[in-house]
């Protein structure tokens, strides 16, 4: 009998129940979309902030001391180097998955015509086969996203532009170099004939330099397989007290448990530490300009989204409970009738609640998928990538929907139960 009544009620008041289900679906989809976006926004914005370039630089251990002793001229070719064959190991550290890009650098000075210029060797768009069997494309094209190409195009390393260079706009203007010109660079170790692939405007010191493929500069500097620095761009977790403590006193000062937590969290300092473990004789340090600002912006964005989510959850909760209250209250005459025929309060409550909950669950299900769709729309339009599906959202939305529906209907039902059937039926 109970089921028959419920099923009849659901079918007889089809339009009204549909409307309730629709509103609940709207509320649930809002909650789902916002929760999904909020939980993923950190990763997404972190990814976007990679536009600022590397947040970790790796230099040889001795160089930091040697350069000082030998004076201010950083181009001095004496000093220790990093080893090129160890580069792939960066992608084998504990947080390898968080290493987005990296590029090796080697710099030297060479004669261009009459004047001496700074030449930097690096990867432009390098295809790398990792020891783990993975492959990776990385290089300056990602780490120098702000470079503006004034003339020509990016040096295409994979197309075999082995003897090409890119020239900074200030130097190009001074030496009257255009794209596709041939230039000759000479050092005491030899000379190279190179084609200018492009002129770039970097808005900094780099505008006075020449960038060439790694091997070319290694030949010019007679430093085969050697590097002067590595820039690494990694996704990191904003620093907290533990990370600051580790950075200030060194990881050794932490207790065993703290050390474990620190090592297994993607703090910039722990990633630096892990890079030092795999690259011999290296010092990896965070670039504070990038690392620090990243943390601040990430935290602000997350907090902003959290508060907006909170507002929309509140809004959808109030919206749902409002409608449920309204729809329960309008059934006063029906409830009066049931009471008049002799139904007990408990039975009536059960009846109304079951009806509403069935509607709510149906609406909530539809809403969850619709909301997930909204989240994907946001993800694709804003960040050009899908928003990850977070399983934790499902129970949150479920609890929200059930709780809000109950909260909306119970006071209304209790109010209706207090009414006297005769009065209600009379139409007061």
């Amino acid at each position: 009998m109970f089921f028959r009544m419920i099923i009849r009620a659901l079918f007889r008041q089809k339009t009204k129940m549909l409307m309730i289900a629709f509103t609940i679906a709207l509320g649930a989809s809002l909650a789902t979309a916002m929760l999904n976006v909020m939980m993923d926004v950190g990763d997404k914005v972190n990814q976007e902030l990679k536009a600022y370039g590397a947040n970790i630089t790796v230099v040889p251990k001795q160089a930091s001391v040697l350069n000082e002793i030998y004076g201010l001229d950083k181009s001095d070719e004496s000093g220790a180097y990093l080893r090129e064959d160890e580069l792939g190991k960066i992608k084998t550290i504990f947080w390898a998955f968080n290493i987005v890009d990296f590029a090796p650098f080697i710099d030297t000075r060479a004669k261009l015509g009459g004047s001496e210029v700074s030449v930097v060797g690096s990867w432009f768009d390098h295809h790398l086969e990792l020891p783990t069997g993975e492959t990776l494309n990385t290089g300056m094209i990602n780490l120098r996203s702000w470079w503006e190409i004034k003339d020509g195009c990016w040096l295409d390393e994979q197309a075999g532009d082995k003897n090409a260079v890119m020239v900074g706009c200030v130097l190009a203007e001074k030496e009257k170099i255009k794209a596709n010109d041939r230039i000759k660079l000479t050092t005491k170790h030899g000379s190279e004939e190179l084609v200018v692939a492009g002129i770039f405007d970097a808005g900094g010191d780099e505008d006075e330099r020449i960038y060439a493929p790694l091997e070319v500069v290694q030949r010019l500097a007679d430093a085969k397989g050697m590097l002067t620095s590595i820039e690494v761009s990694a996704l990191t977790t904003p620093d907290n007290d533990l990370a600051r403590k580790a950075a200030q006193n060194g990881p050794k000062s932490l207790g065993a448990a703290d050390y474990e937590t620190w090592y297994c969290t993607a703090y910039v300092s722990s990633i630096c530490y892990q890079i030092q473990e795999v690259i011999t004789n290296s010092v990896a340090a965070p670039v504070r300009q990038v690392a620090e600002s990243e943390g601040a912006i990430l935290e602000k964005t997350k907090l902003l989204m959290l508060l907006i989510t909170f507002l929309s959850l509140l809004g959808s909760a109030l919206g749902i409970s409002n409608l449920v209250t309204a729809s329960v209250m309008e059934r006063s005459s029906e409830i009066g009738l049931i009471k008049a025929v002799g139904a007990r309060d408990g039975a009536i409550t059960m009846l109304v609640l079951t009806e509403i909950i069935i509607t709510a669950v149906a609406g909530g299900l539809v809403g969850y998928f619709a909301g997930f769709g909204f989240a994907q729309i946001i993800g694709h339009t804003v960040f050009g990538s899908a928003v990850e599906m977070k399983p934790i959202v499902i129970p949150i939305v479920a609890v929200l929907v059930v709780f809000v529906t109950l909260a909306g209907s119970i006071p209304a039902i209790r109010m209706l139960l207090r009414l006297r059937p005769a009065e209600v039926l009379h139409g007061r």
Binding site: L26, S64, E292, G315, G319, L323, A326, V382
Partner: protein, 391 residues
């Protein structure tokens, strides 16, 4: 006249008599309007607030001397004045000189410490910022090489060209020149992860005293809270000032800021759009439910001889009144919410946008009006006898 009075009496009476249900409707509208005004306020304020966060990346504009000559302090000041005061976050003039510490050549950067602090908020100081005369900051690598710690005394020697020549002539005067260095106290060790770690930072007045030359600068770092296009406009303005200053944008910062900020703004925009759309539909369905349950009343009125037009006008009047009140409430709560968000996230207050008020009220009135119209029209189409009978 009498008719109008009756109309108002009917509307107010129905609102007051059926207070519980009207409260439900009003609450729904107010919640919708709160979300609308709150989110729109935040949306308009995000670029400004987030832009301020991006100033953490430091200087986004450089003033360099135009030509080989050094920059004079007067022309630097004139160039800085070209930038609106409220947009300027920090301006740090720098002057670089080679000095020696313990016979080791070192680059000394003379800076206005307050300016440097504002323009480069990412600098980490182990110790304190220099506050008194003769206090300096020492870069981390330099400090490690020279064994300088916080509080150590650093003897800085400056040799200008003429002094050097004289010094070469006699060993005696050279020794004298070495003794002529000035003693500074390292108030803090600077950590940046960049080239700054190799320098020693001295205040401009100390540098003037050390070298005997005043008012010459190598560069001014500016941190301006402005978009790339606005910065370009400022740069053009400064170039047109007829002083020997060449302004340059720090591409790394400006370009990346544009990329990231555009994305963030798009995010907040889309989120706002989705939330508003869903909330408005939610408000509309609630209103529809509230009106639909009054079919009986409509039927009764029709039976008493009311025309369809007058019924619709009355219901609409009621709906619009609710929409107006709900909208006003929403503006107040929405502003309170936006203010709370701003204080929590950005630690700064938000300014009230007068335009939000009419927009919110008009939209909530429109949504409520539309939501009322549909069920009322349905009800008026029905034969009153059928409605009253309860079918």
């Amino acid at each position: 006249m009498k008719k109008q009075k009756m109309f108002f009496r009917m509307i107010t009476a129905s609102l007051i008599r059926r207070h519980s249900r009207m409260l439900v409707a009003l609450l729904a509208i107010a919640v919708g309007a709160t979300i609308l005004s709150g989110l729109v306020t935040i949306y308009y304020d995000v670029p400004r607030q987030m832009g301020a966060q991006f100033r953490n990346y430091g200087a986004n504009m450089l003033l360099l001397p135009d030509g080989e000559e050094k920059l004079s302090e007067e022309s630097a000041e004139r160039a800085i004045k070209a930038i609106d005061k409220e947009k300027l976050v920090g301006a740090a003039p720098y002057r670089y000189e080679s000095v020696t510490i313990n016979t080791m050549p070192v680059i000394a950067a003379a800076a206005d410490m307050d300016g440097a602090r504002a323009a480069s908020p990412y600098w980490l100081i182990n110790g304190d910022w220099p506050s008194a005369d003769k206090e300096v900051l020492v870069g981390k690598t330099l400090a490690a090489t020279l064994g300088i710690k916080q509080g150590s005394t650093v003897n800085v020697v400056y040799e200008n060209e003429t002094a050097k020549e004289q010094a070469d002539k006699s060993d005696e005067s050279k020794a004298k020149e070495k003794d002529g260095g000035k003693a500074f106290v390292a108030s803090g060790i600077l950590e940046t992860g960049g080239t700054e770690e190799d320098y020693i930072f001295i205040s401009l007045s100390d540098m003037a005293e050390l070298t005997g030359v005043k008012g010459k600068l190598d560069a001014v770092e500016l941190s301006v809270s402005a978009s790339q296009d606005e910065l370009k406009a400022y740069a053009d303005k400064i170039s047109g000032l007829d002083i020997d200053v060449s302004p340059r944008l720090v591409k790394r910062v400006t370009q990346s800021e544009t990329t990231v900020l555009t994305k963030l703004q798009a995010l907040v925009f889309l989120v706002t759009a989705v939330v508003l759309l869903l909330t408005m539909i939610c408000v509309a369905t609630t209103m529809m439910a509230v009106v639909a349950e009054r079919r009986k009343e409509i039927g009764l009125r029709k039976a008493l001889g009311a025309s369809n037009g007058s019924i619709i006008t009355e219901f609409m009047g009621e709906g619009l009144l609710l929409g107006g009140i709900g909208g006003l409430l929403g503006v107040v709560f929405g502003y309170a919410f936006a203010q709370a968000v701003s204080m929590n996230v950005f630690n700064s207050s938000i300014s009230f946008r007068p335009l939000i008020l009419p927009v919110t009220v008009v939209i909530s009135v429109l949504v409520t009006g539309l939501a009322c119209l549909l069920p009322v029209r349905n009800a008026t189409d029905v034969d009153p006898a059928v409605v009253l009978k309860g079918e």
